[in-house]
Symmetry: C2
């Protein structure tokens, strides 16, 4: 019997229909390949002039901006979805609303090595990438026009990557995105009702039950969410309640790098280097939000930051687009059990 | 300058970033091919025994159930996402909620001809398909366990189709899906504020402006939505306010068949037979809904049914999954102008 499960964070029903996984087409691994093999790579060392000037870089002592001996390099996206100059100028357009596409769109080049993905790096390498995530969040949140800063990664062409050199992206937006608003509302409502954090409650229940836990250490837990939309969907949660990645201690940054790298490596070994997306869900702009008189005023601190990882193994079809709920052919308990058994090498 | 546009129906911001369409990877036509060429087709006439027994069929006079001379045939999905037997049995699972996966999952085989898609059929053939959509809605809504009935179509493998023989699907669910709830809420709030239908207001503004109108006749209008998520996304709206396709007159069924077939044909000619999804958004179960004391009690009649069509031309990546808003490289005004210029042949 298929089962309907409700996600209290996204307020979304999901159909867990494991009988359907017998259809071979339901679970084919989206290749992580990107169709740019042999092409000129603008992210490789020595090609720095092919990108806009760097915003920041992590470099060895003695190195300087523009030199090719960087370890992590952040540059503006050459084809930005949003522009940094100007003001939003919100206005009505009859029954609609519009504003200028103000924001930031940056690329974080994760490593000078073209062929080394996060799953293959050493912990120190991933730690530098996480340091860059935190630094770009903190810097962009200083801009009062930006209400939200999203750090995310597309790995593989079916996940939306257009360049194969390992990179993450940062987009700062002048509105709080709907998905985040839903999570903030859920967290606020739960806190209002229970005086507890919703995510802390979820985490406590998961750690006690164990069936959906892939990994846990004193700082972080990796779980397959109860109402997973997709096979092998994962969530990395900090065990200490915190609303934003900008408030991480250096030890937590190291710990996050370890758990992120190991989780991606587990997926790579288990599923044969699948295409995936991950997104860091952190609080919206606190400098901005408290000034609003209503609704969100006290919210951001009720939020509990986390990372969502989505391997791209199934097609999203008309049912999902038409309803906003999902049919998942793999029970999260099975996914977690399988991933727990993977030996990291 | 990119532009942010707000969809008052889905309460969703979209980034219209036309500069990005210069990247060739941003707009590649998802093939409508399905990898089952040469394989046994369970939907072809003569193979009726390969599917579960038919639920209904449209047949010439004198024909009988099981005979191979049907025109449209509706059968249960052999791998259903939801099961017809049982009761939902809602219950708590700690901080979560669950229920049994009760519902219906049917396949509407649109034609006996394996290679003839809706875009290629004559009007009479598409009319029979629309008649089947209406009949299945009406029949499934009699079941008090089902709160919503979604009719949708996946055309092409990247749109989620696994069999190439032209078919649509019907899924009846024991909860009102989130996407529909959002639209119902928007319609209710707008009616509360203005005492007018939100969709009627959108339609009036679009018909007056004209820039996003692909087609209009006395019964229907086809528009590229102001805040389109995807290139060439379209919406078919009835000009007469109506909450559900089950209330269509026979003339409106014919009119809908014509506009649906012509719109799909326009997309096929313009974009080279792209993969697409369409979903019919109609009111939830009225037999059920009025019994609830709160919230939706008077809503369904404020709703305005419509069809959403989504050609699958771009990848959905981490930004979209992480935020619920979309980057669209093609302005809907350009898409509408291009489609208006297509000569139907």
């Amino acid at each position: 019997m298929p089962e309907l499960r409700h996600d209290p964070i996204q307020k979304r029903w999901v159909i867990i229909a494991t009988e359907r996984s017998r259809r071979p087409s339901d679970l084919h691994v989206g290749s992580s390949a990107v169709g740019d093999a042999g092409a000129f790579c603008p992210f490789c060392p020595g090609n720095e002039s092919a990108t806009p000037p760097e915003i920041m870089a992590i470099r060895p002592p003695g190195s300087h901006a523009g030199a090719p001996d960087w370890k992590v390099r952040v540059v503006p996206n050459k084809f930005p979805a949003l522009r940094i100059e100007g003001s939003p100028d919100r206005e009505a357009a009859g029954v609609y609303d519009r504003m200028n596409g103000i924001g930031a769109h940056e690329v974080i080049v994760e490593t000078p090595e073209h062929g080394t993905s996060l799953a293959d790096m050493d912990y120190r390498g991933v730690e530098r990438v996480v340091q860059a995530y935190v630094a770009r969040q903190a810097d962009l949140l200083r801009d009062q026009r930006f209400k939200y800063v999203l750090v995310f990664k597309n790995h593989g062409e079916v996940a939306g990557a257009t360049l194969s050199h390992p990179h993450s992206q940062v987009i700062a937006t002048p509105v709080t995105p709907r998905t985040i608003s839903t999570e903030l509302t859920s967290a606020r409502e739960h806190y209002h009702l229970k005086e507890r954090c919703l995510f802390c409650d979820v985490l406590a229940q998961e750690l006690q039950a164990g069936a959906r836990v892939v990994w846990s250490d004193p700082m972080f837990a990796v779980i397959a969410p109860y109402a997973s939309r997709f096979p092998f969907e994962l969530m990395i949660l900090p065990r200490r309640h915190g609303h934003a990645i900008t408030a991480l201690t250096p030890e937590e940054v190291s710990g996050l790098a370890r758990v992120l790298r190991d989780t991606l490596r587990r997926l790579k070994i288990a599923l044969g280097d699948p295409a995936y997306n991950f997104m860091i869900h952190t609080a919206p702009n606190l400098d901005y939000e408290p000034r609003r008189v209503t609704f969100w005023q006290t919210i951001p601190w009720d939020f509990h930051w986390h990372i969502e990882i989505i391997p791209r193994l199934t097609q999203v079809a008309g049912f999902e687009w038409g309803t906003g709920f999902y049919i998942n052919p793999t029970a999260p308990e099975e996914a977690a059990m399988f991933l727990r058994g993977i030996e990291l090498r």
